[in-house]
Each structure stands twice: as structure tokens, then as C-alpha cells.
Point group: C2
Chain length 367, copies 2
């Protein structure tokens, strides 16, 4: 069953609505990242006010602490963290490869040591499905191997092919235990034939949605766009397309124009905690002394509550005094910025003005 409806299109850009058991998601959508059961420094009530309709939870972090069985006992991740809208969980794969120690990869899965307490843990396609089912995720991601970047052709090919075998195992296991959605993840590094082969394998399996993985790993933007240029057209048009871990505002706009519907990234919250604020003219660093005496909002073009109620000078002071409210305000400001951007993108596609919107945005935005 396809719960994704495309209600407007302009070029390859799509304006859609994805239905889940916890409500609908207007796409193109940005998902704030709630690593360990919390979008860092933001109350869920405030997150709703930003227009966020879905957030991402990290399987790896939650399986280690407090444990997915524990979360299940609390009624699942939604109840645990007081968020009753949709949740997408990643598969744990990316963090196993980026955070954990002493990994042993086999066809069966990955043995690794927890980065928290060194405990031995085994993660496989099947256990990842079990964990994400315990979390009661609305959108479950297949468990895949994170191909290093850059990768030689043979390395990328072997890695993609194992991920596809794992995707098949996920598919086979998931639909017997879970009524939510499962998304497959395209791999294949920067090789067109591998990406297309991966798309074909996943499409034949038939998932509820398709993610492009293995990007946002350090490659330049034009290389990322090049991969999207040949990958997205090889995916079923009627299903949602999710670009994992992306990205900067201009990455998002360029990816929407290439047919991507969903995004997640830690950038707005992580940079907010570090004093970076997004504006329509590009990011600013609030610690810069030029903001010390500025009795104006961070972004005069914004009407979000942070810009309405607080001056740049005050937030500069909070960072200068190492007050946690500074990171709280900028994290929230940045999520507002991202969700306002997504709303503008959606409106522009509906009004067939997305091309003009893109040009105007990129003229003003200095990344």
C-alpha cells in the first residue's frame, strides 16, 4: 500500500504528503535529529511549534542506552520522549561504523564494542528490525554497511552488494513483525552503474520508500548532486525519496530540485549549540564581537519567536557568559529556520515558483 501522495510537481521537485500511523508528513520534509531520545536542548512542545512533523531517532544510541527493550516497556519511543508525531529511525549501521570500536563484519552482521561501556554487541539486518520495532518507529530503515568515502570501485561494489543482500533480509523479516514502513537504502558510492544496480535491486524488492545513503560523507556538493542526478530517476517516482544526513540549506534546495522528499541533519542543533545561527543571508557566528551591541534580531527577515523576542546582542551575551540558554535559543532558531525553509520550498512547488525561489534564495545565501 502506498501512503505517499504527490500533490504538486515542478521539474523533478515534488510536493507530497506521506501518511503514517502517527500522522501525516508534508514533503519535502526536514527531520530534526533526536539522537538519544531527545532533540538536544529542545522541548518537544517547542519542536511542534517550529512546524516539525517528524523526527529521527538513532537506533545505535538508543539500543545502547537505555536499550530498545527498555524503551518498549515505556510504550515505545514516542511515549518515552513525549512526541506523538511520526518518528523515523536509522538502522544503527552508520554509527556502528563511525563510533564503535573493534568491529568484525561478516555476512551475518556486525560484532562491535559499545563506545559507552565496551560491551560486545551483535547487530544484523534482523536484530536491527527487532530494535526498530521495539522503538515503534513509523519509518524503519534497512540495515546496511556504510561504504567508506572515497571507495575504489571493487570495494564499493562488494559493499553495495552485501547491503543489498542485507536489505533483502530486512525486507523478508520486517513485514512479518511490523505494520509500519520500511525504507530501502541505495548504496554504490559515486559509481553510476552501482547506484543504478542498487536502485533496481531495491525496487524489485518493493519498499515503502527509498533512501540515498553513502552521501554527506565529505564529498563536495557537486559530486553529491551528480550522484542524485543519476540515482533519483532510477527510483520509483510514486514512493518517497530520502537523502540521509543532508544537510546545509543549499544542499537541501539543490536536492529537492533533483527529486528528494525527505532530509535529516544534526547541523541546525549542533551548530546552534556552538553559536552558529542560520539566516537567509547565510550562517553567522553569534560569538563574533560585532554582535555584542546589536539590539536587533539575528535575522531581520525572520518572524520566528527567537527573532521576535531576543536581540543578537543578548544571545551573544549568553554565549559569552556560557549560559545554556544561548544554545537552547540558537538550536530552536535554527530548527525554525530549517522548517521555514521547507515550508517555503513546499509553497513554491505548489505555486510552480520553485525555480524562481531557488534562484532568489541562492543569490542571498552565502554559505
Amino acid at each position: 500500500m502506498n501512503d505517499f501522495n504527490i500533490i504538486a510537481e515542478e521539474g523533478k521537485a515534488r510536493r507530497g504528503v506521506l501518511q503514517t500511523l502517527h500522522g501525516k508528513i508534508n514533503t519535502p520534509a526536514f527531520m530534526p535529529v533526536g539522537t538519544a531520545g531527545t532533540v538536544k536542548g529542545i522541548f518537544t512542545d517547542d519542536l511542534i511549534k517550529t512546524g516539525s512533523e517528524i523526527l529521527l531517532g538513532n537506533t545505535y544510541h538508543l539500543m545502547l542506552r537505555p536499550g530498545s527493550s527498555e524503551v518498549k516497556k515505556f510504550g515505545g519511543l514516542h511515549k518515552f520522549m513525549n512526541w506523538d508525531k511520526p518518528i523515523l529511525t536509522d538502522s544503527g549501521g552508520y554509527q556502528v561504523f563511525s563510533l564503535s570500536k573493534l568491529r568484525q563484519i561478516s555476512e551475518e552482521g556486525v560484532n562491535f564494542k559499545s563506545h559507552i561501556d565496551g560491551k560486545n554487541i551483535f547487530l544484523s539486518p534482523e536484530t536491527s528490525m527487532d530494535i526498530q520495532t521495539n522503538l515503534n518507529s513509523d519509518i524503519v530503515m534497512t540495515f546496511d554497511e556504510c561504504t567508506p568515502f572515497p571507495a575504489e570501485y571493487q570495494e564499493a561494489k562488494s559493499s553495495m552488494e552485501m547491503s543489498m543482500r542485507w536489505a533483502e533480509r530486512c525486507h523478508k523479516y520486517f513485514y512479518n513483525i511490523n505494520k509500519n514502513k520500511l525504507f530501502g537504502i541505495v548504496q554504490g558510492s559515486t559509481y553510476e552503474d552501482l547506484r543504478k544496480n542498487s536502485c533496481e535491486i531495491l525496487t524489485n524488492l518493493d519498499f515503502d520508500g527509498y533512501a540515498v545513503g553513502g552521501l554527506a560523507v565529505g564529498e563536495p556538493q557537486d559530486q553529491m548532486f551528480e550522484v542524485l542526478d543519476y540515482t533519483v530517476p532510477a527510483l520509483p517516482t510514486e514512493k518517497p525519496h530520502y537523502l540521509m544526513g543532508v544537510g546545509k540549506p543549499d544542499d537541501i534546495i539543490g536536492s529537492v530540485s533533483r527529486g528528494i522528499d525527505m532530509f535529516d541533519c544534526v547541523l541546525p542543533t549542533r551548530s546552534g549549540r556552538n553559536g552558529q545561527a542560520f539566516t537567509k543571508n547565510g550562517p553567522i557566528n553569534i560569538r563574533n564581537s560585532k554582535f555584542k551591541k546589536l539590539d536587533e534580531p539575528i535575522d531581520k527577515n525572520s518572524t520566528n519567536p527567537i527573532c521576535r523576542d531576543y536581540s543578537a546582542g543578548y544571545i551573544h551575551h549568553l554565549f559569552n557568559a556560557k549560559e545554556m540558554l544561548g544554545g537552547m535559543l540558537l538550536s530552536l532558531h535554527n530548527i525554525y529556520f530549517y522548517q521555514d525553509l521547507m515550508r517555503d520550498i513546499r509553497n513554491a512547488i505548489e505555486n510552480k515558483t520553485f525555480k524562481d525561489f531557488t534562484e532568489e534564495f541562492l543569490v542571498n545565501y552565502k554559505s
Copy 2:
């Protein structure tokens, strides 16, 4: 002009309303502490929802960073920090004596080095009035010397007498430059005759309110109550009585019963950041492993939004994972607890049930 109206009394306990240019304060009142222009980890919108009607700003912290002239350029402390309700500022004296280095005290004032950058700063009764005027504080405190505890009689006497001469200088200077309120501070350590002498001097000067200073500095509760027993009756009954830096819930209840109307303390926010939550049965430490699996609120007797929306187990997880949301939630919970306590106290005095309320509260509350 007296803007303080006592609308109910029970024994020495008073239920009043204090009018300021930024609105009214229902007493007995608890003032959250907004040290450096922020109540740590709490949005001002959320602070209002707790029932907080006034907060305390620290002259010492704000004069050093960002500087009181800077705050004035932002329209005063209310506008700077996005809080349009009343603000009381302390005089800076306490922090000069507890935080700064290389103090030189003379009749004229105090020379000290900033604990932030070592800069030489001079603070006197007159400069403290200027700074608090720049901040646009609704209730300004006189500049006094913080008498060490314990203090020998002669030391306490000399210190109190200098504070009284400084209070006179504050009084003389303040009313020429400021239309807000000035409170005098009673000193005299634990010596009845010194306290009474201090009350008499301040009463003759005639302030808008009177604070009891030099308590909550490490003395046992019964000694604090003993001082209040002979000090509060020596103050004008028609003016508000403020006990500085107090305290624990049972300190507050015992002090209200001795005629105190206003309180401030960092305890709810500081202990919240450290994982301590107040409940009607006493404080709990959320890090305790007994809360790990508890799918119930911190305080089953409370209806505040934190207890309504979050389990003890979730907040335990947040502290375990070092997530800043943990400190945010418990700080807010504790401010709710304090403001609920103050509301219960006010209702009890209005209903002449304060004595019963006190007995019942203290039976359940294990401090």
C-alpha cells in the same frame, strides 16, 4: 507611597500584593534567580507558566558582563532578557565578598578585581544605585557589607554599622535618580540587639521594603528562625519583608510563619541541573538507579507539565546520557514545585488554614 497591601493574615503570616511599575506580585512570593540575565536553562515564556511573577537579577554578574550601561542601551534588563514582569536586583555586595579577589574595603566602598578578567572595579552605595538604575530594576537593594558567619560581636557590630551608613547613602542617592523601589537590608549577624538596632535605623530612614540579610550563610535552620523571631517584629508591618537567599521548602514555610513575604534562591535551578527534583515527600536524586525503569512521573502528587508529560525513567535516561534536556526539565519542574508551594501557602493564609497546611506539609516532606 506604600504599594503593598496585606489582604489576609494568619498569625504572623501575611498574604499581600505588591504593586510595581512592571505589574503586581502576590506574596508570599518566590523569586527565581536570573544570575547573568537568564534563569539558567529556562525560557522566560516557560517561567511565566510556572506562576513566577518576579525574578532576581545579579548586579555583580551583570555589571561585569555585559555591563550595566550596555544593558541600559538594550532598554534595561527586562527588554534585554525578554521578561516584562517585575525584577528585583541585589546590590552586588554578596558576590563581591564571595566571588571577587583582592578586595579592599573602605568607608567609601569596595575595590575588587573581577573574577572574570581581573579588571579593577570600585563598587559603592552610589555606584550600586547607578548600576541597578541602569538595569531598570523594579526593586533595588541597598549596598551592604556581607558579614562573615559566624562573626564575633564586635566584628558583627562594626560591619552592621557600616552597612547602615551605606544604607543611608543609598537612600539619599537613590530617590533623586529613580522612581522604582528601594529596600533596606537588616544586618547584625545572630545578635538580637544588633538586629534590632539595624531595624530601627532602617525604619527611621523609611524604605519601600525591608530585607533580612546575612542569613542562609551556613547557619542551622533553628538559628535562622531564632533571628527572624526577634527581627521581623522590629520591622514596619505595613512594608514587605524579604528574606534573602532562602531557601529549602521547609525554610520558606517556617519563615512565612514568622512574617516573611519574599524569597529568592538558586536551589530549584541549581539542584535541577544536578539531577535533584523536589517533591512533596522531599527531594529525590533522579540519577538513582531505582528510577531507571520507572514509568511514572517524578511526583505523583503534582500536575505540572513535566510530571504530566515525562516519566522519571525518561529523565533518569537523559541525565545518564548527559543530555541537556534533563537539566532543563528538572529546573523547570523545581520552579513549578516552588511556585505551586507559594500558591498553596497564599491560599492557605487566605483561608486561615496555613497552620494546618504547615503541619501536613512537614509531616510528608523529608528534607
